[in-house]
Every structure is written in structure tokens, then in C-alpha cells.
């Protein structure tokens, strides 16, 4: 696979970042007359500049240029109409494409994005629906097993998520554990894998802890005296929850939604393993565009669209929680 070469100015950009970085260190050393506590922030700043800030510039550059390196919006047009590239080539070759019937509707990319957002939305809702009650239950002070259960939630995260996802295959596949069990009980086999529900299952399984922890934290750090005060003022258990415990857990919910929704939208690999390629998500599309189609320009444009969408949804969430405990993750 021939990787696209990085433009020469990409190297120069990194060198510039490095240069500014060194100048800043020297200035800081001069200003504080020696080593200051801010010294400890420098390694991370360097890391950020070289591996985050500069690549972001590069992605923006690729997204707005063609393979020859001149400015173009074709990459975005290609997002709206996946046949755009092909049509252009046909026009170049002298064909009239206006009346031409193309087998592909040309909305593959948009469809994939919409599908990804829809899947991420479903995943977030399910995680909230399962995770909130679980967190509420575990943060109950009278429930002595709560902290133990939280550890049980953490333990699977010690394992790589690829392995965890592959493990689901042994459960769900046609001759997997569940189907073997069903068959031995006299039921027929079920088609459990290679559909979007299996993908959703894998996503919920992987991202559920990211909902449970922030919610658990926001509830368990609440002063027990607050719910006692509510009860004292005449609120029964349900009203105490709706008027005190729940409103005070909103920062945790916002944080949880953010932490589940963001990785959900960009999910890749899970659809390929559990969805068997029938259910491509946007993360896979970006990966495929970069690595298989070897088109860094379109891939960058897709990445940029993704980032803007995530930024947009997080800023919407921030309105719910102006204090910004959840939004501060951004």
C-alpha cells in the first residue's frame, strides 16, 4: 500500500511547533529565573503539538485539497454524492452523465453517517436506561455490595476492547454458546450475529461503564443529608428522587452521555466483527477510505465532518448543564 506522502510543509509545521515550543521554554526559564512548576506541563504540551495540533492542521489541509495538492471542495461533494468522483472521470472522458442510471444511489456516505448517529443515539439511550438505575442502585449507602459491583464493572475494562468484542462472537455465532444451549433445549437456532442488533449489543456492552461511572459518582457524592432534608419536608421516596437526587445527578448524566455518545458515533471494528460488514458505520467508512481506498483527501473530509458533528452535539449538551461538569470533558 503506497501511503500518501505528507506535504513538505507538514514537516515544516511540526518544526515550527517545535521551535515555538523551545522558545516558550526559554522564555519561561527566563521569566521564572529557573525551573518553575509549569515545567511539568511541557512534555504533554510537546506531545499535544506534535501529535494532535499539527495532525489536525494536516487533516484540514487534506480535506480541502485534491491529490495534486491544489484547493478543492470536491472531497465534501464526494461525501454528499459518493458517485461524484466517478461521474467526474466519466465527464473527463467525454460522456454525458445527466441521463445516466447509476446502480449506486450515491448516498452511501450520508446514509452511513445517519446510520452511525442513529446507532449512537440508540446506544446512548440504552446505556442511560440500563446504567442510571444500576448506578442509583449501587450508590445506595445501605447496599453494602455496591462498591464490589462497581469493581465488577471495571474488571472487563482491564481487557482490550477488541478481545471483549471477539468474545461476544463465541456467544452469538451460529454454533456459539447461546445457540448450542437453545438447540439442546429443543428450540431452533437463532440468527444472532451479523445484524445491527448484534452491533448495538456490542456497543452497549463496551460503552456501558462510561455511563455508569459518572452517574454513580454524581449520586454517591451527594450529601445524604439532602435526601433526608427532602424527606423531612414531606417528600416521600419518589418525590425525593425526582426533586433532589435526580436533578443533582444531571451533571453525571451529561458526562455519561458525552462519554458514551462520542465513542459510539466513531465506533469501528465492532460493526465489522458483529455486523459482518452488512452494517458499516462511519468509523469503518473513514478507516476504509484511508486504508483500503487509499484516499486521504476524502478520508480527511469525512473526519472533519465527524468532528464538527461531535462538537455540535456536545455544545448542545452543554446547555443542559451550564456548570459544565460533563461538558468540561471536551
Amino acid at each position: 500500500m503506497s501511503a500518501m506522502s505528507m506535504p513538505a510543509w507538514g514537516i515544516w509545521l511540526m518544526a515550527l511547533g517545535l521551535g515555538i515550543f523551545i522558545v516558550m521554554i526559554i522564555l519561561s526559564l527566563k521569566k521564572h529565573r529557573g525551573v518553575h512548576r509549569s515545567l511539568f506541563a511541557w512534555p504533554y504540551s510537546l506531545w499535544m503539538i506534535v501529535f494532535t495540533v499539527v495532525p489536525l492542521f494536516l487533516i484540514a489541509y487534506y480535506a480541502f485539497t485534491d491529490k495534486a495538492g491544489s484547493f478543492t471542495l470536491d472531497n465534501f461533494k464526494n461525501f454528499w454524492d459518493s458517485n461524484y468522483e466517478m461521474k467526474k472521470q466519466l465527464i473527463d472522458m467525454g460522456f454525458d452523465v445527466s441521463g445516466m442510471e447509476l446502480s449506486d444511489r450515491g448516498t452511501v456516505n450520508v446514509d452511513t453517517l445517519v446510520y452511525s448517529l442513529w446507532m449512537a443515539f440508540k446506544c446512548t439511550v440504552i446505556c442511560l436506561a440500563i446504567g442510571y438505575p444500576a448506578a442509583l442502585f449501587m450508590s445506595d449507602r445501605n447496599f453494602k455490595l455496591g462498591p464490589t459491583l462497581i469493581v465488577l464493572f471495571i474488571i472487563p475494562m482491564w481487557m482490550n476492547f477488541l478481545l471483549r468484542t471477539i468474545a461476544w462472537m463465541t456467544l452469538l455465532e451460529d454454533n456459539g454458546i447461546i445457540n448450542t444451549l437453545l438447540e439442546s433445549l429443543g428450540f431452533g437456532k437463532l440468527k444472532l450475529m451479523y445484524n445491527s442488533n448484534a452491533v448495538l449489543l456490542g456497543m452497549v456492552y463496551n460503552y456501558l461503564p462510561f455511563m455508569v461511572f459518572p452517574v454513580y459518582n454524581s449520586i454517591s457524592k451527594q450529601d445524604i443529608k439532602l435526601s433526608e432534608a427532602a424527606m423531612d419536608l414531606g417528600a416521600d421516596e419518589i418525590k425525593t428522587f425526582t426533586r433532589v437526587t435526580f436533578p443533582l445527578s444531571i451533571p453525571g448524566i451529561v458526562s455519561g452521555i458525552t462519554m458514551v455518545f462520542m465513542p459510539s458515533v466513531t465506533t469501528f471494528f465492532i460493526p465489522r466483527v458483529l455486523g459482518g460488514g452488512n452494517t458499516e458505520m462511519f468509523g469503518d467508512l473513514i478507516e476504509r477510505t484511508f486504508l483500503t481506498a487509499d484516499n486521504w483527501n476524502v478520508g480527511s473530509a469525512l473526519s472533519l465532518i465527524m468532528m464538527v458533528l461531535i462538537l455540535f452535539s456536545i455544545s448542545l449538551l452543554r446547555r443542559v448543564d451550564p456548570q459544565g461538569e460533563g461538558g468540561s470533558l471536551l
Binding site: K225, E228, A229, M231, L233, P247, L248
Partner: protein, 356 residues
């Protein structure tokens, strides 16, 4: 005392936490419109007792009666009792108005009535105009008054206060003590107040219950408890005191520091060992020649109203409060009128165990 006056009755209450007993043998009634203080050092069970009345804890044994009705197992929201919590426990997501209106909204009162009652409360606690403020923006004293308003607006029959003044500075605390007493008298509500501050208890209470290690040690009016403490612990906890071991050779005579003193107590066995309590302000300093108990002034500290002196006499260091200054190292005599010598029976612990 007529039976009808008894609003709350605690019967044979005890409470264990994980086999650790924090309350035992509690029998107490609380009258209507009474200002009752539960007083004791930390860990004496006073807060647990308050929480049992409030419904946040349930007694291991015994019953709680409210107006003659058994409420032992009723949850807090069914009790006609409201609480002012130690650190106020104001709702951080609600503003001042919403905090005070919380109970009224739960009770589904009409909006106009809520507004007018909250307004009246804010007036009572001197915080009109603070309705829209967030509770975090208020000072400790203001938060405290909001907590009181939030409880009182529900017009409870009993207000429980769990060391509500502990977090305030001295001046503010003094002011709030009088303020609380005033509110209690104006509103005619029963107050049950928990504190470890004996001065607070003496200032505000109609009745004080002195507690130690989960037991009630003594109950009475502030004056009664100060003047007639039942044992050395109560005497020490309420006010400053000189407590010395002695014996009772016969009625109205007590022997300590190698001398016989006249007193007003009787009903002891012959030569029964006792504790003798003499308050520092009851000791009169005289010339050394005039009285049998003589000593030397060891230290003098000026306290504003009086001098606090330590006088070494009869093998005991006496705390003495006097408005007259006597220089250090001078020889003085100490005298006490018989009425101010208070003889206390020894407790079982003191009789059997090592002397404290």
C-alpha cells in the same frame, strides 16, 4: 404536670449500631411549647436521639409517641416535625425561594399562599429580597437562617435543631441564640435542640437533658442542673467546678481537705464517701487568719468580668473566680457558705472502679 401537655413521649428507647449501643434506657417526655436541649459531649447519643424523633433512625427497642399516637415506624415525611440540619443541607440546585417553598410545593398548596408564606418567613429571618439568590452565594449565617425558614414555613409542631449554630462565629452565635429563643416564643412551637455547648444550653433552654455514653444523666431546668448537678460529670460539663472527694460524718456536715464543713445536704450513710462540688464563683477569699482552709495563690488570669485564680489549699488546686485581684504567691483563706457546698453521691463507676 398534666398528661395532656406531653407532646412527645420516648418510652424505653435504645439503639444499637452493629452491636454497638449508642442509646439505652431513654425515657423522656417533651411538653408543648417547651425548649428542650439535649446536651452532651460528642458521641453521647444526642444526635441519634434527635434522629429517632425525626424518623431518620429507628430505635432498636422502645416506642416514640407523638400526641399519644405511636409513630415509631413512621417515615420522616409522615411526621409533623421539621429539622434544621447541622450543615443546613440546603438544596444547591434551588434558589432561596425554592428552598423555603420546597415543603409547601410538596404539600401542593396554592401558588399565592406559597408566595405569601415564604415572604413571611423571609421577613421573620430578616432576609427579604434574597428570594432569587442561589444558596451558595450566602454567608454561613444567612444559610443557617434559610435552613430555619425552610423548616418553620411548614408550621411544624416540633422543630428539631441539630447543632445549628456550631458553624457560626462567636458573635453571630450569640445573636442567633437569642433570635431562636424569640422565634420559639413568638411561634409557640416546641424546639428540641442538640448541642455540646453548655453555655448555649443554659441561655436558651426551658429544660436540659444532660447525656453521656447513651444514657440520660440528668434532666431539669438550666438553674436546677447548674445548682444541683447529680454527679461529677454533670457538674463538670455544666460550668466550671471544683470537685473534691470527701465523706459525710453526719447529716449537714461534710469532711474534706482534712476539715469539717457545714453544709445543707443530708440523707447519707455515716461516713459515706461523696463528691463535693463548689463552683469557682462561690468561693470567697478572706484573710488567712480568719478561716481554717488556708492556701497560696498560684496563678491569676484576668478574664474581663472577673479574675480567674488557682489557689493551692488543702492539697487541692481550687479554681476561684473573684472580682478582687489578689497577687500571686500571697497567702489567703478560703471560705464557702454552707448553701454553696453541694454534696453529690458517687456514681456506681466511681464506687467500684478506680478513682478518676
Amino acid at each position: 404536670m398534666s398528661q395532656d401537655n406531653r407532646l412527645i413521649l420516648l418510652e424505653d428507647i435504645s439503639k444499637d449500631f452493629d452491636r454497638h449501643t449508642v442509646l439505652s434506657d431513654i425515657n423522656l417526655y417533651i411538653k408543648k411549647n417547651e425548649f428542650l436541649t439535649l446536651l452532651g459531649p460528642s458521641g453521647c447519643g444526642k444526635t441519634t436521639m434527635l434522629r429517632i424523633i425525626g424518623g431518620f433512625e429507628f430505635p432498636t427497642t422502645g416506642r416514640v409517641l407523638f400526641d399519644g399516637k405511636d409513630i415509631t415506624d413512621e417515615p420522616p415525611y409522615k411526621r409533623r416535625v421539621n429539622t434544621v440540619f447541622q450543615k443546613y443541607a440546603l438544596f444547591p440546585h434551588l434558589n432561596v425561594f425554592e428552598n423555603i417553598a420546597f415543603g409547601l410545593k410538596i404539600a401542593k398548596l396554592p401558588k399565592a399562599e406559597i408566595t405569601s408564606r415564604v415572604g413571611k418567613m423571609l421577613e421573620l429571618v430578616n432576609l427579604l429580597g434574597y428570594e432569587k439568590r442561589s444558596v451558595d452565594s450566602l454567608s454561613g449565617g444567612q444559610q443557617q437562617r434559610i435552613a430555619i425558614a425552610r423548616a418553620l414555613v411548614n408550621e411544624p409542631e416540633v422543630l428539631l435543631l441539630d447543632e445549628p449554630l456550631a458553624a457560626l462565629d462567636y458573635k453571630l452565635r450569640k445573636g442567633m441564640q437569642l433570635e431562636l429563643k424569640r422565634m420559639q416564643q413568638v411561634l409557640g412551637i416546641t424546639f428540641i435542640f442538640v448541642t455540646h455547648d453548655q453555655e448555649e444550653a443554659l441561655t436558651m433552654s426551658d429544660t436540659i437533658v444532660v447525656m453521656k455514653d447513651g444514657f440520660m444523666r440528668q434532666i431539669g431546668t438550666p438553674k436546677h442542673i447548674y445548682d444541683e448537678p447529680k454527679d461529677a460529670f454533670v457538674a463538670n460539663f455544666i460550668g466550671e467546678s471544683n470537685i473534691i472527694r470527701g465523706i459525710m460524718p453526719k447529716d449537714e456536715v461534710v469532711h474534706f481537705c482534712g476539715l469539717n464543713f457545714e453544709c445543707v445536704d443530708s440523707g447519707f450513710e455515716k461516713d459515706e464517701p461523696v463528691n463535693v462540688l463548689i463552683r469557682p464563683e462561690d468561693i470567697v477569699i478572706t484573710d488567712a487568719e480568719d478561716v481554717p482552709l488556708k492556701g497560696v495563690v498560684r496563678s491569676v488570669i484576668f478574664k474581663g468580668v472577673h479574675y480567674e485564680m488557682v489557689i493551692d489549699a488543702g492539697n487541692y488546686l481550687w479554681k476561684v473566680h473573684s472580682t478582687v485581684m489578689v497577687p500571686e504567691n500571697s497567702k489567703v483563706g478560703l471560705s464557702v457558705v454552707p448553701f454553696n457546698i453541694h454534696v453529690m453521691k458517687l456514681t456506681d463507676d466511681e464506687l467500684t472502679g478506680d478513682e478518676q
